[in-house]
């Protein structure tokens, strides 16, 4: 019987681990050194960081990436970065109103002449989108489509708490330093950028195709660009997004120093909030629910023993 029991426990455990699929050939994303403040059952988003992350998004990412599932009002709702108990209705929140008003959007409702005007956004509007459509987005990015970032932290990683944010953090801060990339003139007279690898097994050069950037955390295949032992190709792949976060790229309103890691950390945490704005509510409801069930289980356990006390079984 104990074997049966152990096996059944194993069934559950295996089911859990099985779903953690290995990503194809990319370096495993890592959380920041001190971990994520929102991780774990009682973890909470660090709202200062989420606010800074929103600044990074507005000033850097939003020129290429939309976030269609978010509206300005979400910023001021419960669990959001600009939530203020003085404004239970987020549409009255002056911060939220100011953010909305500073973006011009094309009014989806036509004017009396039947044309669509540009107007400042309202709190109820979805975030401004950088491109009119996917074709325009591709055309502006060398054929690659910058994905919508609304749920990017849920669409990457292995489903474990924070794994998607760790991916965004690792990706954005994981590009090789510019001094690791050399340039040489190819046979056709054009310049090619390449990286040298000098590790024990990983030994050779990796050529960056034009308009593509190597990143060890991006899942792809470097084999075709690799001059070296084909049994040991560098982890990662090439993506069409150039390194976006360069030291001092934004000047934080709160005076925090804008190092690459700091910006990556902040924007990843902002996207973690955006992917699941109800996460704090979810965790907050977890503890009372489980405590209630535990109490019920204890009561039932004692009732069970009382009811069965005179029955051999």
């Amino acid at each position: 019987m104990t074997i049966f029991r152990t096996l059944a426990a194993g069934l559950g455990a295996l089911a859990l681990t099985l779903s953690a699929q290995a990503a194809g050939g990319a370096k495993h994303a890592h959380a920041p050194d001190d971990g994520w403040p929102f991780a774990g059952p009682v973890g909470q988003l660090e709202m200062d960081s989420v606010q800074r992350g929103y600044q990074v998004y507005r000033e850097v990412c939003s020129s290429c990436h939309g976030m269609d599932l978010l509206s300005y009002r979400n910023l001021g709702e419960k669990g959001g970065p600009y939530y203020d108990p003085a404004y239970p209705n987020a549409n009255d929140n002056p911060m939220v109103k100011a953010f909305a008003a500073s973006d011009e959007i094309l009014d989806p409702i036509p004017n009396d002449a039947g044309d669509h005007d540009y107007r400042p956004a309202r709190t109820s509007d979805p975030f401004r989108t950088p491109y009119a459509n996917k074709q325009a987005a591709r055309a502006a990015n060398g054929g690659a489509l910058p994905p919508d970032l609304s749920v990017i932290t849920k669409a990457r990683g292995d489903g474990a708490d924070g794994s998607g944010a760790s991916y965004v953090f690792s990706l954005l801060s994981g590009y090789p330093d510019s001094d690791e990339i050399s340039t040489r003139t190819g046979d056709d007279g054009l310049n090619v950028n390449y990286l040298r690898f000098n590790e024990e097994h990983l030994h050779g050069t990796l050529v960056q195709p034009a308009g593509q950037y190597y990143n060890p955390y991006f899942s792809g295949d470097t084999g075709a660009q690799w001059d070296g032992d084909p049994r040991h190709v560098p982890e990662g792949g090439f993506l069409a997004m150039a390194p976006q976060l360069i030291e001092g790229r934004v000047e934080y309103i709160d005076g925090t120093e804008a190092s690459v890691e700091q910006m990556a950390y902040d924007v990843a945490q902002f996207l973690q909030w955006a992917g699941d704005p109800k996460q704090e509510q979810r965790k907050a409801l977890g503890l009372p629910s489980i405590l209630y069930l535990l109490l019920l289980a204890i009561l039932l356990w004692f009732s069970y023993h009382r009811i069965w006390r005179n029955v051999d079984h």
Binding site: G24, V151, R231, K278, I290, L300
Partner: protein, 490 residues
Amino acid sequence: MSGHESTYKPGNAFTKWLDSRLPIIRLASDSFIDFPTPKNLNYWYTFGGILAICLAIQIITGVILAMHYTPDVTQAFASVERIMRDVPFGWLMRNIHTVGASMFFLAVYIHMFRGLYYGSHKAPREVLWLLGCVIFFLMIATAFLGYMLPWGQMSLHGANVIVNLFGAIPLVGESIKAWLLGGPSIGNQTLQRFFSLHYLLPFMIAGVVILHIWALHVPGNGNPEGVEVKDVEKDTVPFHPYYTVKDGFAIVVFLIIFAVLVFYLPNVLGHADNYIEANPLITPSHIVPEWYMLPFYAILRAITFDIGPIQAKLLGVIAMFASIGVLFLLPWLDTSKVKSMRYRPVARQFFFAFVAAGLMLGWCGASNPDDPVFPSLKGADAIVVEFTDPDGTKGTVTFKEKREIDAYEAGDAFQEQKIAEGATGVTLGTQTAKTFTFLHLAQILTGFYFAYFLIILPLLGLRETPKDEPESIHKAVLAGKRGSAAAATE
């Protein structure tokens, strides 16, 4: 429901009046209050009740989700996110429904292994077992249909893989495919019919569950000793309060695990790719079904060889359906007269091997079939240089030096030499070392899966010498009590 004398006595004028017109209170009382139940049922027997709760949870949360969901390819993905963001407690409903599907399957698998271990499929409970198999089949169909609805990348491409399987059926395959999809490929019409059927099937499951419980209440419950009830007085207790409280306790423990997933790890059993909106033009690199279908997926992929005129693809489909179909034959394949594996020392060992094979098939289903099962045992891949000499002869040279770097350097030097000699089409590649892959493991396990039902169980029933069964449940319980008391004083 039959099986025992009705003991219900209407207490007042109204219930008396009702009892002579629609004896529904009598039915409930006889089925769930006074029903004589063996007193030795252990916690493995609580999963039936747990499953009933699972079904109720899925139906309640599902109906609420359907109030806000939009079955349209341009809006489905966003509408699910809207539920999570803007519907009050929508995130809770959705997490419960998603995690609930996994919990439902976890429970049904334990419930079925329980049946296999204690011989619940044997006379007089064959119909009960068959109805259970029908429920299991409907559950798989429902989960498959439901997984389409969030309209993520895995929804679309997973469904595509499965529906394409039907295309392998000769003659009618293509028509079946078009009929399932409502057209030549997955589109809006597919999403709409999947939604409609996903709403319908759980109610069919509910109907079969009623039959399942009816079929349970005719012979009465089995029990871990495998001997039938002889003396209702000594062997059984009324269902209520004895089993309502025991099942209740197990259900609440089950719900605690459920709640941990819902509140803290809602996405851990899912696949991140399903949070990317479906796009028919981009195929995910690694298409995998949900965890509870992985063993069947592994069986499907294990068949990579043709047998006679039957192509591998069709054989895989047949094997996958047969792996579920064989469960329907189990009552007649298992020839042993002894029900409980407690008294079948040899069969018992095979049973544990079978459970392990099921788990490992799941592991195979999640893995890339060409990957080594034991990466550390895999030898080094060789370096291969291919070239065409100036005179047109093609050649390949393989380098297998012991030190990896030597093989590469030798190959690299050879490659340059060939280029210098004027050879064309010189490429340096690898030849993968032969090793034991997940495909091989899945093939062995698939063989064992079928052998267990088709060879081991039929033969063992005839040849194995079982241990002595107890005379009655009552005696077994007393003997067990004495055994453990003796162990305690030792």
